[in-house]
Amino acid sequence: MSIFAAQDIAMNFGGIRAVEGVSFTVEPGEVFSIIGPNGAGKTTIFNMISRIYTPSAGKLIFAGEDITTIPPHQIANRGIARTFQNIELFANATLLQNLLIGRHCHSQVGLLAQFGFLPSVRRAEIAHREKAEEVIEFLGLQRYRDQLIANLPYGVRKVVELGRALCIEPKLLLLDEPSSGLNVEETEEMGYWIEDIKQDLGVTIIMVEHDMKLVHAVSDRVMALASGRILALGTSSEVQNDPEVIRAYIGGAPV
């Protein structure tokens, strides 16, 4: 059974059809990439899945549940995490605090207990801290642990964004252009992490990406979008050799 399915979704902004008639499924444990030229609607689809936008039509099914209209703050406790294209970290907090905020959906403590910082709250805090430290170790962020995000270089921030999403312990991870702004080495590292996340943590990944090398290296299946519609869907080689896709990217002589 697929872990996620988009059924004929569409998104209209006023008169603009950003996404139209898109349907796809994602199998558990796979890395599913969405590629396409700018303005194709890739991030719009992400924003629909993470419920920042509500689809104008169609349905989104996650783990058998229709999530098309749930409020945005409820996707985290259902196990969906996302990173943002332009990094939406909490700039005035430390790296550790950012990761701990990622643990919020697992927090069970009551309001009054927090007022008094009862031992139950302390225990919960230590448990969250341990989980966050696991993520820090996984991503090698130890030396930045107590630094303010505002002071960290861009490449590190991208990794922190990934780490914060991992703290949710997601079943589905949405990565929005994970390699944008990274140099060749950092992109390679990102590729290794994506592989590790898939293999060690068993997380399903949907990824929007422009870097074809990265897409080819990690993806199980690829979907190509242009102008809000699907051009092709298949393995990376299939899609990259599809004539429609080539035409959308490079342009061709009118037939």
Partner: protein
Amino acid sequence: MEDVLRLLQLSINGAATGCIYGLIALGFVLIYKATEMVNFAQGEIMMLGGFIAYTLVGKFGMNYWLGSGLAVLITAAFGYALDALVLRRVIGQPQFAVVMLTLGLAFIFRAGAGIAWGYDSVAFNTPFTNKLVKFGGDVVLGQDNLSIIFGTVLLCGVLYLFFSRTRLGIAMQASSQNQLAAYYMGIPVRRVFSLIWAISAGVAAVAAILLVPVQMVDVNSGIVGFKAFAAAVLGGFGSIPGALVGGVLVGIVEQMAGYYLPTGFQEVTSNIVLLAVLILRPQGLFGQVIRKRV
């Protein structure tokens, strides 16, 4: 007939007061649209403009039009200097910080005016003081209120042409949305900002001068700034026509409430209207809903 006349009278009075609110609100919005700073000292700048006009026309005896024009220019220059010397230093700081800064400036201006001109109310002669205009024999309106409305409409027309037909207006928009990119495009951002402040101060001075036939100038005149601010928010901060509509709305609601409701409810009515509008339309009447694209 009596009631209709009464209603008309109240509406004109309200519209006139509202125009003053609107002009000050306009000053707020101009600065905000360009620099994203909120100038809580706008009311005090209006007060200073009024005092300067009084000095020129009332004390030195200059011709009304000449003296007023000069007062507007002097106030505009003051606004320019304010930005160049003080506000420039705080570019890049969060909006809240700038609000507090202008609040501090408001206090300084008020105290400064008290030292320079004393704490008594002053006024000077205008061509519109105490004159009436008759319409159709029954309707009698004060020229003072009408001059406020007319002057406001004229000024707004001029400003509209300025912003929609000149390069400076576009440069101002660019500088407000992304200062760094505006620099790269060769826009002298700092000078553009200072010019905005100058225009804004000039508009405040015009408001002060228009107000003289109706109300005397004194150190506390600037308190109208808060009402004007509320009016700007009501209209939707960032919208120039919104500022005026908001101002006139607040002015008329106040007049109506002052007449039809028992005393002391005037203030509360405009506040309730304001809250109601904001709850229903959190971005104000004409404001744009701005959402971040992630």
